[in-house]
């Protein structure tokens, strides 16, 4: 792989491209982890939000509001610098980055999914209850199928926000694309000057995000909201 790229792009450039693609791996891993764990917690928050139990609903509303209002950068600083100093021992950048992005993603996903579930007419719930079904069976068999159709496009669209969000993780020492490129740009050799390497990195992010954006638009047209 490395040799092929050096053959294609020449000596410094091939190595740079090879390293960039290598570092992209961590960006993708972090995005995937954040998306999955954010989705799990987001689902739990959504459940709490629609549960009908007053205390849970209040908690879910507050959670969604708070983590949508707090900048991701502050979450990263808090989990990467604040909490470790408070506890008095180090926290791995992977953990901090994952926790921040999970909190961030879960609030947005919960809001999207809550909206999708609320878009299903109330009568559907009442119909389910009236034939003797309980909360979870009604949710699973009647409410979720149409709600998933509504939620799918914005959920895919939000994954773009997560990928873009991971670019901030370098601030707490997470080794990803951003971190690597900054080092190249700070000590440039031919072909890694800031005006070449930053657009190159932008292209990689674009390559990750653009297909997802397109997919979101396609799903929106296809599933029709």
């Amino acid at each position: 792989m490395s040799d092929a790229l050096i053959f294609l792009f020449g000596k410094p450039m091939g190595i740079v491209v090879f390293q960039l693609l290598g570092a992209t791996r961590f960006t993708i891993y972090l995005s995937l982890i954040a998306f999955v764990s954010g989705g799990v917690i987001g689902a739990a928050i959504t459940l709490a939000r629609i549960s009908g139990v007053k205390a849970w609903m209040r908690f879910a509303t507050a959670y969604i509001w708070w983590f949508q209002s707090v900048p991701l950068l502050m979450l990263l600083f808090l989990s990467g610098l604040g909490v470790p100093r408070l506890l008095g021992h180090d926290v791995d950048p992977w953990v901090s980055a994952t926790v921040s992005l999970t909190l961030y993603a879960s609030a947005y996903l919960a809001e999207v999914w809550r909206g999708a579930i609320h878009a299903v007419p109330r009568g559907q719930w009442e119909g389910g209850y009236s034939v003797g079904m309980r909360f979870l069976p009604v949710l699973r068999a009647i409410i979720l199928p149409p709600a998933v159709r509504v939620a799918l496009a914005p959920t895919v669209g939000f994954s773009v926000q997560i990928i873009k969000g991971t670019s901030l993780a370098y601030i707490i020492g997470f080794h990803d694309l951003m971190n690597l490129v900054r080092r190249w740009a700070n000590a440039p050799v031919d072909g890694t000057e800031p005006f070449i390497i930053f657009p190159l990195m932008a292209l990689i992010y674009f390559g990750l995000c653009f297909p997802l954006s397109r997919l979101a638009i396609y799903l929106e047209h296809r599933l029709g909201t």
């Binding site: 900048p71 502050m74 610098l81 873009k164 800031p194 005006f195 930053f198």
Partner: protein, 226 residues
Amino acid sequence: MFDLRFFEIYRNGEYMWRLAEGVWLSISLTVTAAIIGFIAAALIAVARMNRVPVLSQIAVSYVEFIRNTPLIVQLFFVAFGLPLLLGYKWPFWGHALLGLTLNFSAYFAEILRSGLMAIPRGQIEAATALELKQRIRFTKVVFPQVIANVYPSLTSQFIFLFLTTGVISEIGVEDLTHAGVFIDSRTFRSFEVFITLTGLYVAIALTFKGCMHAIDRRCFAWKGRQ
């Protein structure tokens, strides 16, 4: 249990002063970028709607490219790449303003475009039937409706974008985040500092929301939106 010392921040005049300056710079840069970005976005959206050849293709690529890359990458390119390439020297806030404006304009352009598409064709046909000139047709018939329709999305997008502006501290602008990082480096009270900063960001976002809501009620009351 935990030793929290918020007073180390708020009893120190220099730190408070830096925070205040940071708040001011964050707000003023964001608002300025949003206003210029909005004007640029309107031009982009109009170019796309009228299918101006070449220009509209450039506009599409521009909007898609900005929306699908992280703000911080754009800022680094604008702050470190462009000046080296073109050989100019600006103060830090100039780079930040340019970067934020580019970023905001793409997001706003997308919202304005969807607003323009939502205007019923009959409106434009009716205006044409009344023999209104194209300029009047646009400024008096189409544009006010578009703005009123997309105002809520513009507002929430603006707040969302404001919450991402902390990254301008990374290119040396002494904004709110920069003030926090400075205080942190002096006091090592990271948790307290960033909790304070978080509170300030949320407070500013809420203030923006309140202002936007007041403008909405004042300017778009004719729309009859609740």
